[in-house]
Symmetry: D2
Subunit: 123 residues, 4 copies
């Protein structure tokens, strides 16, 4: 990706690895990532996974946009935890790409995100 990703920087997401159809990111959870009950905000988990999805789906030269995402939240996480999001390609055609992103705290899966991307034709 060429441009900076301002929101990714605001969150503090770190890029661990990016290659064709694959991306891994990490985020250390701080107080500012938590919600009113003191656990990591669902929006933070989603955003971390979405950053990995965007990199994996855009590793070619076309711009792919997210059209639909389903996310399952499995376990709460806390301030001080380090989370990783690993995006892998499930399927990719000319028009659509399907990616599965797993969010983990160490080896425990805390959320599963399935994202559908759409590649707009250049015109």
């Amino acid at each position: 990706m060429k441009g900076e990703d301002s929101f990714r920087e605001l969150l503090g997401v770190q890029v661990v690895e990016v290659k064709d159809g694959y991306a891994k990111m990490s985020l250390k959870i701080t107080k500012q990532h938590t919600n009113f009950v003191g656990v990591t905000h669902g929006g933070v988990i989603f955003s971390l996974a979405d950053c990995a999805f965007a990199e994996a789906a855009n590793s070619g030269d076309k711009v792919a946009v997210a059209v639909q995402v389903s996310i399952n939240f499995l376990k709460p996480t806390l301030e001080g935890d380090t989370l990783t999001a690993e995006a892998v390609k499930v399927s990719e055609g000319k028009t659509f790409g399907l990616y599965s992103i797993t969010v983990r705290k160490e080896d425990k899966t805390v959320a599963v995100f399935t994202g559908l991307s759409y590649k707009q034709s250049k015109s």
Copy 2:
């Protein structure tokens, strides 16, 4: 809700209205909410909707947690846009609640979020 929601404050989400099973929030999109192609980050749209979902689903005395969300992204938005998220109750039982959250820019729907919440028994 009793505690502060740190992530909601970091984002700058404003509460417009909260009542039983309903919540409306707004967010003015700034540069820090954008992604590498210059549009609002999917994580910001999700997070805004998730804040409205959390308030609507927690308007009683039980704590409800999000277990699954499906989101459709319909139109891109930009820095300077003001977005609203309106959460309405679709169904609510003893155990599960289903909420539909519509994210709009003025009167245009830009995303639709369907969230399933689970109410844990006190013990």
Copy 3:
């Protein structure tokens, strides 16, 4: 729609009403629609909703195909119940359509289905 829908006939789905961007179908649940615990099979509920989705999304002259669906099952139903599925358009652009389908037993919502359709260009 021009062709016959063989699976819809196998299920016994009845068309109640179809108009632009809208469809309503009904199905009387029989023994053959039930699963191993004696309630209506999830696949039957989905299929009924999918029939309404297909009619609503194909009311124009383009062929729209389903690319993604999220369904929430709220209440079980039984042999002898009559279910309706009502599909309404949430959003429709040149490429994508988003439809919300509500499955009811009388006035009770038993499932909510959100379907994304994609219109292929003629070529």
Copy 4:
């Protein structure tokens, strides 16, 4: 599972393998499984995957019910194709189970189904 699954029999779904947290089913697509454009009905694909999900999620002694499913349709299939659905456990706790079901035609993935199950306490 003890009881017969009437709808599974109506469809003609065959059980290939069932073990703890895992199930594989197959279905030969016939004319009666097709829709008005002559491809396999989305409800048939969903139902085949749902049968595998139900077996995998119910391999213990508790009864698990589906509360939410997200399905992505990747490729159309036709009369005469033989499809398989393979359900694997992603996560399982005391209350919720998350299963991923892949529907294939030979070695090609034609649909991906993610199902959330809820185990009701006996009382």
